[in-house]
Subunit: 224 residues, 2 copies
């Protein structure tokens, strides 16, 4: 049995949900707030954060936390679609872009996404407009880089779908939930995202409704 | 043949150098500045950054960039000391703390370490004291967390040396190069670091001399 505790707007958790979807894994999903204790797992080591996966399908119970531990664990498993390619040189390219995605979008998460959550989820009275501007600016530079890749390749790391695509799509989908991705600036990236969005693994993300928020109408539209 | 291009003060590159040292790998080391082109590898994909490892020991030439791609590639190899444990649950804990290290110390890299490099390597006329303060504050909170772990466990992720130790030690060593780690606040962490520093894999890091800089006398002292 696999169970995932996750915060639906967290890009790292979204990456894991997409990977589980691609692998057609049976998973019991538990949406929860960041920082809330997990009653079922009272002995988590210090500093454990969402997403947390519990996996009892093998001989030993495994608890993995963080996108890196969870996704590498899922890849080491024997079942489901491979999201890291067979050849070592191709795996290196996937992991490079996956790390690029987590590092580069980290700046957008800490600014734009954090402010949107403050505004809509925590209903803060005031927004930090400087942080919002900083985040919008950072996002624009990241998608300009991705537009170049999307123009060169079918998928971000080459010819096949990989964790690089899932991580990048997961981040963009979280910003898109608040209508913050300027898709018109990057037509090739948009075309790639339309393909990603049409995958069955994306459906649960498009159905997300976080209390207090309402995504824009194009968020769940496959032909936006 | 393995060749590594790296910037000596970069914590990610230091992690890779420690791992190569632990594995007793024969590596041709090429220190270079971030952003400088690598003449030998003219066809690197867009956005490639240091550290970059070229590995021609297998059937196919592999070029990996970034700590994640390089270190997972080295672990997938057949030779040398294992830095990810055998059991899946233990690997998950190592990868959790390794990711924690890269994410959490990222804040210190962008502030404190970046300012120190501005001051000493690029000889900037002025320091951004607000960023320095922010970095000092961030570093204190990270080492407070690590002090707790060091008090509980022999190594950061458990009983054996792993990539979690190497990543954390690599980051601290880069800050220590500028005398910025307040070791007296964290005796258990200091004791762990003394053990890390005494490993043969650490010697090349302690011998680093970056042009324009001079590390404090305790930097290379094994019994500081």
């Amino acid at each position: 049995m696999k169970r995932l505790w996750h915060w639906p707007l967290d890009p790292a958790a979204r990456t894991v949900r997409l990977a589980l979807g691609e692998k057609k894994a049976q998973v019991d999903m538990r949406a929860c707030r960041p920082g809330a204790p997990i009653a079922e797992l009272p002995d988590l080591p210090p500093g454990t954060e969402l997403p947390v996966l519990m996996d009892t399908t093998g001989e030993q119970k495994i608890v993995a936390s963080g996108s890196h531990a969870i996704l590498e664990h899922l890849e080491e498993g024997e079942t489901g679609e491979r999201l890291l390619p067979f050849l070592a040189k191709d795996r290196a390219e996937v992991r490079r872009l996956w790390q690029w995605s987590e590092n580069s979008f980290g700046e957008v998460n800490r600014t734009l996404l954090a402010e949107r959550e403050n505004q809509w989820v925590r209903r803060a009275k005031q927004s930090d407009t400087a942080r919002l501007r900083e985040g919008v600016h950072a996002l624009k530079s990241k998608i300009a880089f991705l537009e170049g890749l999307a123009g060169m390749r079918t998928y971000m790391a080459g010819r096949t779908l990989s964790l690089a695509d899932l991580s990048i799509a997961a981040h963009l989908s979280a910003y898109d939930y608040f209508g913050d991705v300027p898709w018109d600036l990057t037509p090739d990236l948009k075309e790639w995202y339309v393909r990603m969005k049409s995958r069955p693994s994306f459906r649960p993300l498009l159905a997300d409704k976080v209390e207090g928020t309402r995504p824009p109408s194009h968020y769940a539209d496959l032909d936006f």
